[in-house]
Every structure is written in structure tokens, then in C-alpha cells.
């Protein structure tokens, strides 16, 4: 067994901390005597290069036999200084950077940022732009949830079959986004006070067609997955998150609703024009992985309802507020926090402005990161095979976790 070199002690810079170099030092907290009597724990690093960790993400796991005793998530491998860059460029120039936060759902990221700036500057958004925002956000929710379910089942070993079906449907929605904003994933579409460009000719018909077919696809998807006994065996009772713990840990999004807490920002904040649409919020009872999966499926069906209503009721009109400026936009002094119900949870932007063209402080509240903090509590006592599935159900995207 190789000895761990204590570099700091050798170089004499700082004395080595007590207990370093002992087995279990990195993972067990000092004074944690839970498993000293049982013998050695197996420390495993499910490292950044792993097919199932949804990006560059590391989990340091201590195993007792096959049960997880301690789990420490390590991230930061994708940190790109997003918040610091935003302090140096204008408000508008941060908008393409927000696309790249949660790179699956760029439209909702744009909307959250635009909402924050509109709150700061007191801008109004015309009707048509609000409808377009709702339509693109719900399409993004559909995209995200299908692909997430695909990834979850892929981690379970279904060799990517549901994932490929999900991507096939995602392509249709991405084609819609390309026709609208010019780019499939990095849309850069919302502006302060509205949207950048109006819907091209024929877009509404194409969108209606996609939405109508999506219901049939969801039925097929559910026939493949929801009744599958193996899926039920692998996900029911795994990774239970109680409602109290979820609320204490500031979990938001489908994870919270699967634990039974009725908190959906579309109903609570009523941002945009969501109070005009008739949709329900599904809740789970057990808080396990299967509930999170089913809540997402039901949410997709509710999104289809919203989409059908919005596509029918969308009015004509301008799409940007006349007060909005593109260049030399200076927000008045103050602070604002704009948040939306993103597909992964509550995505918020906190801006402090001191009157200059650049923000003084720009902070992103990433739902993936906050939801990730509860991973250890959910994984304790389960086997390591379940850890991968629980991580899959938390729905993280490393671009958002690390920013």
C-alpha cells in the first residue's frame, strides 16, 4: 500500500493537519465514529470521467460493503466565471452567456435574466411578447423533461432506447427554435422589454403540429416505461426525500413537488401571463425516484395544455417595449431578483446596479446546485448502483452547477 505523501509537511510551509494521511481522512469528518468498529470503509471516487454523471462531476463515496455511508459531491470542473464576466460587459452582452448556463434550456435562462433586468429598470412587456415567452418556455420544459427521463433510464441500463426517442422529438422542437431565433440551442432570443424578433411566417402552424403530435409520443413513451416492472423495481422506494427536508434545504422544482409540497412559481408568483392559463400542478406522495419521474411526465402533459391554449390565443402586436434601448442601456440604481419556474427548479437572477452600463453584482441562483446539496441525505443507506439513479433523478446540468 503506497503511503500518501504529505507535501505541505515536507516543504515545511504549514504543518500537516491532524489525522491527514490516515485512511478515511478525506471522507469522514473528524469525530465521526459511526463505523470505526465495523472495519475499513471502501472509498470510491466516481470521477469526472464517468458515463453516468451527467457532465464533469465527481462524487467521493465511502462504502460499507455496498451501502453508501458518506457521499461528498465535488464540482467546479466546468466553472467559467460567468458572474465575473457579467460585471465587465454590458447588460445585453450577458444575455448570450445566460444561454450557456443550463445548456439544455436556453430560452428559460434568457427569460429569467430578462425578467430580472425588467424588474430593475421598470420595463413593461407587450402582450404578444409575453405569449411568445410562455410558448418557448413550455416547449423548453417539454424538451428538458423528455431528455431527462431518457438519461435516467439510460443510467439504468436500457441502452439508450428511450433516450433516442426523446432526442427524436427534441429535434422537432429545436427546428422550431432555429426557425425562430436562428440557433437551435443557444437562442439569445429574449430582450429587455420583449423578444428580439417576431415569429416568422408559418411558425405557429408548425408549432401547433409539433404540439399535437407530442401527445401521441408521450403515450408511446409511457407505454414503454411507466408500467415496466423492472423500472418500478429500480426506482420505487429509492432516494426518498421527505417534504420537511426538501423545504429546509431549499429544493425547488419537480423534486419538491414529488415530495408533496405544492410550490410552483407559475402559480405562486404568477410571473408573465401564467394566470391566464388553465393548468394543474401534479404532486407526488412518496418523494422517491419514481415519483420524480412521474411528476415530470405529468408536468409535460400540463405543458401541452398550456401550449395549446397559448398557441390559440396569441394576439398580434409589437414585440418589444418602446422604452427599451439596445445600446447604452443603463439601469437605474437599485437591486432586483427575478425568478422563474425553470424546468429544473427555481432559476433566479439577482442584480445590483449602480447606474453604470455594467451591473455591480450579478448572481445566478442555479437550481441544479441547490438541489444537489441534498444528494448525500438521499443516498445514505442505498447501494452504489442506486446512487447513479438518484443523481439522475435530481436533474443536474453542470453548466448551471458550476456556472
Amino acid at each position: 500500500m503506497t503511503q500518501r505523501l504529505d507535501v505541505e509537511a515536507i516543504l515545511g510551509k504549514t504543518p500537516a493537519p491532524e489525522g491527514s494521511g490516515e485512511p478515511g481522512y478525506t471522507v469522514l469528518a473528524k469525530g465521526d465514529h459511526r463505523h470505526e468498529i465495523d472495519g475499513d470503509l471502501l472509498e470510491v471516487a466516481m470521477g469526472p470521467h464517468h458515463p453516468s454523471t451527467h457532465g464533469v462531476f465527481r462524487m467521493d463515496v465511502a462504502l460499507d460493503g455496498e451501502d453508501v455511508v458518506k457521499l461528498k459531491p465535488v464540482f467546479g470542473y466546468l466553472h467559467r466565471n460567468h458572474e465575473k464576466i457579467a460585471e465587465g460587459v454590458s447588460y445585453l452582452a450577458s444575455m448570450p452567456y445566460t444561454d450557456r448556463l443550463d445548456y439544455f434550456c436556453s430560452m428559460t435562462n434568457n427569460w429569467a435574466y430578462a425578467l430580472a433586468v425588467e424588474k430593475l429598470a421598470g420595463l413593461d412587456v407587450p402582450e404578444r411578447a409575453e405569449y411568445i415567452r410562455v410558448i418557448t418556455a413550455e416547449l423548453t420544459r417539454l424538451l428538458n423533461h423528455t431528455c431527462l427521463i431518457g438519461f435516467l433510464v439510460q443510467d439504468m441500463g436500457a441502452l439508450g432506447t428511450p433516450l433516442m426517442y426523446a432526442f427524436r422529438e427534441r429535434e422537432k422542437i429545436l427546428d422550431l427554435f432555429e426557425a425562430l431565433s436562428g440557433s437551435r440551442m443557444m437562442c439569445n432570443y429574449m430582450r429587455f422589454g420583449g423578444c428580439r424578433v417576431d415569429l416568422p411566417a408559418g411558425w405557429l402552424t408548425a408549432a401547433k403540429d409539433v404540439v399535437d403530435r407530442f401527445g401521441g409520443f408521450l403515450d408511446e413513451y409511457e407505454a414503454l416505461l411507466s408500467g415496466n416492472e423492472i423500472l418500478m423495481a429500480r426506482t420505487q422506494g429509492i432516494g426518498v426525500l421527505s417534504a420537511e427536508l426538501a423545504v429546509d434545504a431549499a429544493i425547488t422544482g419537480p423534486m419538491l413537488r414529488a415530495s408533496g409540497v405544492n410550490y410552483d412559481l407559475r402559480k405562486v408568483d404568477k410571473y408573465g401571463i401564467y394566470d391566464r392559463f388553465d393548468f394543474r400542478v401534479p404532486l407526488g406522495d412518496h418523494g422517491d425516484v419514481f415519483d420524480r419521474y412521474m411528476v415530470r411526465v405529468l408536468e409535460m402533459r400540463e405543458s401541452l395544455k398550456i401550449l395549446k391554449q397559448a398557441l390559440k390565443e396569441i394576439p398580434d402586436g409589437p414585440i418589444t417595449s418602446p422604452k427599451a434601448k439596445i445600446r447604452n442601456f443603463k439601469a437605474p440604481k437599485g437591486e432586483a431578483y427575478g425568478r422563474i419556474e425553470g424546468p429544473k427548479g427555481e432559476l433566479g437572477f439577482y442584480l445590483i446596479s449602480d447606474g453604470k452600463p455594467q451591473p455591480y453584482r450579478y448572481r445566478v441562483r442555479p437550481p441544479s446546485l441547490i438541489n444537489l446539496t441534498i444528494l448525500e441525505d438521499m443516498c445514505l443507506g442505498h447501494s452504489i448502483a442506486d446512487t447513479v439513479i438518484i443523481l439522475g433523478s435530481v436533474d443536474i446540468v453542470l453548466g448551471e452547477v458550476d456556472r
Binding site: G237, M294, V388
Partner: protein, 401 residues
């Protein structure tokens, strides 16, 4: 068409006749073994490509289609790649055992081919206890798995090997008991006699073949056999030892290059041989399904290969659809569901054979109802119990008011 049917047998007889007298025995042996060792690895090569293409089609995408016509030379590219890879042996590994593990796996898989009849009069050797020999030799694969895990001197490989062996041993029981049902029905352990017992047909114009799969116990036995065979050869949904998203998996993590390819080859050969046994036991071996005249034109070995291909396609289909079972769920399934069902199947075989002499009007229907009921009731009860004990089941969801 008799000639086409027996073409390989006559070729071999002619070739052995060419060889001078003292060497004829050896020539006969070699000529029995060589076709097996050439044909089945060839089928393996084609299956790897076909599997990738079929899985691709299931997933709405094309499989490999660049190398050769429609991608059917992909196996050559893969083979070349594997052969030219560096063969890494860990420093602390037990070198002899590390080398022998893939060899033992391959040899046990190949040995089992010797008792299977691939066509009329086409078998390498006829042993009266052929089925027994098959399973005895097949158990050598488990030894090879343990050798691989142990010799790698790797914590994870050892744990993976132990899990794989636990899985394989647990599924031996349902496999053997399902095969035992056929042995009980025919009264013989000889594969040739088992195939002969499935000759002909019944019903009007002999439209329904006499294959054992068309009887209640045979149907249940075939399904049990196929599931247990999937678990034996580590196929999805029982492929925990080879899973990529499991951290403690893979008794062959320390193997690379040609040795890894040998493991792969031996695994597929094992799959083929156990599917061949399923064909022999339940699907009528090399018999044609219908007595129509054109069926006689197709040679018996072609029917055999066709049935084998159907089973392999079924496995590929299962692989593309089902997620993986966790190790404890796998073991639960084997001991609490498959084993009781296999035992009940034996009882049903006994009932079926006992009630065969019944001759009164409607006896057939009564027999069928009795046997199907004897099978269906435990299936439903056991299945529901297994799911309900863990509180697994479909759920209803409420919406916020």
C-alpha cells in the same frame, strides 16, 4: 432434397474415406470439430454487426453502415482493432491464471457444442447422457469467471466476479429444472431422442407441430429456460457484470486486447449454445414446422439455424428494451419466482403425462385447462406477491387544488 439435407454428412464421409486407414479416426474427429469451430465464430461475427444494426433500428437510427456493404464487414474492423491493441497484464496479477481464464471460458463454451444435433445425423458425438454432459461442461464457465476476477488482484474485479458467479449459480437451478421437464416428458437424456420425440404434428392436416413449446408445460418451460439462459450468459437485463454505469462491475476490467475479445467471443458462443439447446429441447430441433411439401425442400440444418436466429433476435430485442436489474433484485427473482415456477412446471409435466391416456370426448380441453390453470395461478400469485411485498406497483397521482 435429401442430398442437400445430408450434404455435410456425405462430404465428411467422403473426406474421411480419402484419408489412409490408420488416420481415419483422427480425421473424423477433426472434421467433426472444425465446422463447429469455424461456423459458430462466423455467426458470432455476423451477430455483433447485426446486433448493432438492429439495436440502432430499434432506437430509430442506422447502425454501423460504413465498412463493407451495409456495414457488414464491421466485424473485420473490430477484430483488427482488438488484435492490434496492447495486451496489458497488471504487475501484481497471477499471470498463469490471468492467461488461462479466457481460455477456460472458451473451451467450456465450445465443448458444449459437441452434443447438439444441428441437423439430421449432424452431431459431433452422441452421448446417452448428453444433456447432463452439456450442463456439466457449461458449469466450467463459472469457474472461468472466478479465475478472471481472482487473478486480476483488483478489489473491484473480485467483487464483480463474485456477483457474477452468484448470479450464474442462482440461475442454474431454474435452467436445469426447465430442462428436466423435457427429460421427464421424453424419458431420455439424449438430445437426439428428444428431437425425435418432437417429430410430426397433430390437429387437422398436422398443422400444429409436435414441438414441446406448444404444450402448456413446454411454453412455461421455454420461457423459464430463455430467461435463465439470458442470466447465464450475462445478457441484458441481467448484464450487471458488464454494466458501464456500475462502479463495481466487470470481472474483466483488467483485460485488454485479444483476451478481452476472447471473453466477448466466449460469451456469445455460450449464448448460441444455450439457445441451441433451447431449440433442441423445446422448439423441435431440426424439424420443419409444417408437413407441406416445400418445407421438405429446406434442409434440416437451415431450419435449425432459422430457429436459432429467432431466439437470438429475441435476445437482441430484450436488450434494446429493458433496463437492468440490480443484483439483489436479480437474486430475489431467481430464488423466489423462477425456482418455484420451475418446480411447479415439473408437477404440470407429471399431470400432463399422467392424463395422456384419457380418451373421452373433450379430454384434450380438460387436460389443457387443468395444466394451464395449474401454471397460471401460481404465476399470478407469485408475481403479485413479489411486487407487492416491496410495495412496487403503479400509482395514482394527485394534483394541487
Amino acid at each position: 432434397m435429401e442430398r442437400l439435407d445430408q450434404i455435410f454428412v456425405t462430404l465428411k464421409a467422403w473426406a474421411v474415406g480419402q484419408v489412409p486407414e490408420p488416420f481415419q479416426v483422427i480425421a473424423s474427429i477433426v472434421l467433426s470439430i472444425a465446422p463447429i469451430m469455424l461456423v459458430f465464430p462466423g455467426i458470432f461475427a455476423l451477430t455483433t454487426v447485426a446486433e448493432r444494426k438492429l439495436l440502432g433500428r430499434i432506437q430509430n437510427r442506422l447502425g454501423p453502415n460504413r465498412v463493407g456493404p451495409f456495414g457488414f464487414l464491421q466485424w473485420a474492423a473490430d477484430g483488427l482493432k482488438t488484435i492490434t491493441k496492447e495486451d496489458i497484464v497488471p504487475r501484481n496479477a497471477d499471470k498463469v491464471v490471468h492467461f488461462l481464464a479466457p481460455v477456460v471460458l472458451l473451451v467450456s463454451a465450445l465443448l458444449a457444442y459437441s452434443v447438439i444435433p444441428f441437423g439430421r445425423n449432424m452431431y459431433a458425438i452422441e452421448i446417452d447422457a448428453g444433456i447432463l454432459f452439456f450442463f456439466a461442461v457449461g458449469a466450467g464457465t463459472e469457474l472461468a469467471v472466478f479465475m478472471a476476477g481472482w487473478s486480476s488482484r483488483n478489489k473491484y474485479a473480485l467483487l464483480g466476479a463474485m456477483r457474477a458467479i452468484a448470479q450464474m449459480i442462482s440461475y442454474e437451478m431454474p435452467l436445469l429444472l426447465a430442462a428436466l421437464a423435457v427429460v421427464m416428458a421424453t424419458g431420455s437424456l439424449n438430445p437426439n431422442e428428444i428431437v425425435a420425440a418432437q417429430e410430426g404434428g397433430r390437429g387437422w392436416g398436422e398443422i400444429v407441430p409436435n414441438w414441446f413449446v406448444f404444450t402448456p408445460w413446454g411454453f412455461a418451460g421455454c420461457i423459464l429456460f430463455l430467461i435463465a439462459a439470458a442470466a447465464e450468459s450475462n445478457r441484458s437485463p441481467f448484464d450487471l457484470p458488464e454494466a458501464e454505469s456500475e462502479i463495481i462491475a466487470g470481472y474483466f476490467v483488467e483485460y485488454s486486447g485479444m483476451k478481452f475479445a476472447t471473453f466477448f467471443l466466449a460469451e456469445y458462443l455460450g449464448l448460441f449454445v444455450i439457445s441451441s439447446l433451447c431449440v433442441v429441447l423445446f422448439l423441435g430441433g431440426w424439424h420443419a414446422p409444417f408437413p407441406f411439401f416445400w418445407c421438405a425442400w429446406v434442409p434440416s440444418w437451415a431450419w435449425f439455424i432459422g430457429k436459432l436466429a429467432c431466439i437470438v433476435l429475441l435476445y437482441i430485442w430484450m436488450r434494446g428494451t429493458l433496463p437492468r436489474l440490480r443484483i439483489d433484485q436479480l437474486m430475489n427473482f431467481a430464488w423466489k419466482f423462477m425456482l418455484p415456477m420451475a418446480l411447479i412446471n415439473l408437477v404440470v409435466v407429471a399431470v400432463w403425462t399422467y392424463t395422456r391416456p384419457w380418451n373421452y370426448f373433450g379430454a384434450e380441453l380438460v387436460r389443457w385447462l387443468l395444466c394451464v390453470g395449474l401454471l397460471l395461478a401460481p404465476y399470478l400469485l407469485l408475481g403479485r406477491n413479489l411486487l407487492r411485498n416491496r410495495k412496487w406497483g403503479p400509482r395514482t397521482y394527485r394534483y394541487a387544488s
